[in-house]
Amino acid sequence: MNNNLINVVNLVKNFDEQSVIKNISFNVKKNSIVGILGKNGAGKTTLLGMLLGLITPTKGDIFILGKNLKLNKKEILSEINFQSPYVDLPKKMTVEQNLSFYSRLYGVKNFNTVIENLVDDLKIRNLVKKNYGSLSAGQKTKINLCKALLNKPKLLLLDEPTASLDPETSIFIRNYLLEYQKKNSSSILITSHNLDEVQAMCSNIILLKSGEIVSEGNIKQILKNYNYKTLIELFLSEG
């Protein structure tokens, strides 16, 4: 368990009569980038929701940083963070106000300096005084990522991290995340429909189908085992 950042044990989630996650177990190693793949309705969002403590599992346990999420939720949540293009920040506040607000919520020390550094790193200085609600989708994605990095998370969960970004910015963000992960020895969990991106960033994948894991492990090894050349081939056949 020590080398694992996440241990998921016999996880089940039912919404009323519908079984969305069907008794899955997996581990995510420290210092790794893992992609969670699956078609719409495969259970990716529900799984992310449970890892974030937003959705209560029907059965099973989640251990993050060696602690049971059920019993240590607040402690664990201060060490992780999340970014999704489908989740906004308060629209009526400026970017600067939003970043200060979330820094305080996460108890970030010297948060003004932390914000200044992230703003420069992510090249969003021209946006800090603007109202979040007035930004384009791509700009919001960058701001959301900035918010997700405020507490220097040991585990970063990303839902479509480069959605709405132009190709140049996508590459910039992708490289930034890879560098961030190496520099901070953190782990990143990515859900994305951009399989090229997943292949470029992740060492391992978890492939979900109708709430079950159909494939899990090192990407190269999985492709070799199934005799596929690309993730797209694997996804279309097995996902």
Binding site: G53, L54, F82, Y86
Partner: protein, 263 residues
């Protein structure tokens, strides 16, 4: 804990007072109400010989006290609904915030909004009608806190229903208070209601509060049994509504409602 509560208070301050129209919307209605009721009552008094009972004082006290309840409820509900409208619930609930910290922050911002909203109305009443709300003395503070507690109880109830059942319940944020109004005996005594309505009225704190207010202003009498009822009912309603709010958050986690809630 305090840094998270302060963070939320700063956020709610930015929402509530972040622009001139939003700031004006907080205090214009209480001020307009006071002017309307003040001039109307003055007109009635000047066309009647029935002016010996300080009718103006009673009406204006009732208007201001009722608005405490209304502003208290609205301040709490609107601050929480803002999180839903701005699709911020997910980010809020994945942060290390504790539910009770959210409850405390909502209560504080409602208190601040209510005080800011009502202060100009009290000054306007004093300037135009020589009205002194502070004639109620210590009981003004007692009534203020008990009315705003009623507002918070309703606010938590409405917020819970919107969180659980969605936008259809948002209308309640504005309407629910007016369902309570006829039973609250704001402008008339309890015994002027039909017996069945009286029985309903006494299970809500406002009827006891406004009865007490009239007793103090008209007869100078403090009815301690009413004060006891107010406290007991408010303790029960506030505890019940907060527990309900926390329970609905737990149910929302089970049903996956905290992801992607929004407009």
């Amino acid at each position: 804990m305090f840094s998270r509560i302060i963070a939320l208070l700063i956020r709610y301050k930015n929402i509530s007072f972040g622009s001139v129209p939003r700031l004006i919307s907080i205090f214009y209605w209480p001020s307009v109400q006071i002017l309307f009721w003040g001039f109307f009552t003055n007109f009635l008094i000047s066309n009647n010989s029935y002016s010996g009972l300080g009718i103006l004082n009673i009406i204006l006290s009732a208007v201001i006290l009722w608005d405490i309840l209304f502003r208290g409820q609205l301040g709490l509900t609107m601050s929480f609904l803002e999180e839903i409208w701005s699709r911020n619930l997910t980010n809020l609930f994945i942060s290390p915030i504790r539910e009770f910290e959210l409850v405390i922050s909502l209560i504080f911002i409602s208190l601040i909004r209510t005080i800011i909203g009502l202060t100009p109305a009290i000054f306007i009443a004093n300037y135009f009608f020589d009205f002194h709300l502070f004639e109620l003395g210590f009981f003004l503070i007692f009534f203020f806190f008990n009315l705003i507690i009623v507002g918070w109880s309703i606010g938590f109830l409405v917020s819970s229903l919107v969180l659980r059942y969605g936008h259809a319940f948002e209308e309640l944020a504005w309407a629910i208070i007016f369902i309570l109004l006829p039973f609250s005996c704001v402008y008339y005594p309890l015994d002027s209601l039909p017996p069945i309505m009286q029985k309903i009225s006494i299970i809500f704190p406002p009827a006891h509060i406004f009865e007490s207010m009239r007793e103090i202003l008209i007869n100078g009498v403090i009815r301690y049994e009413l004060l006891k009822n107010i406290i007991l009912l408010n303790v029960a309603y506030l505890t019940g509504s907060v527990v309900f709010f926390l329970k609905i958050i737990a149910v929302s986690r089970k049903k996956g409602l905290l992801i992607n809630q929004g407009e």
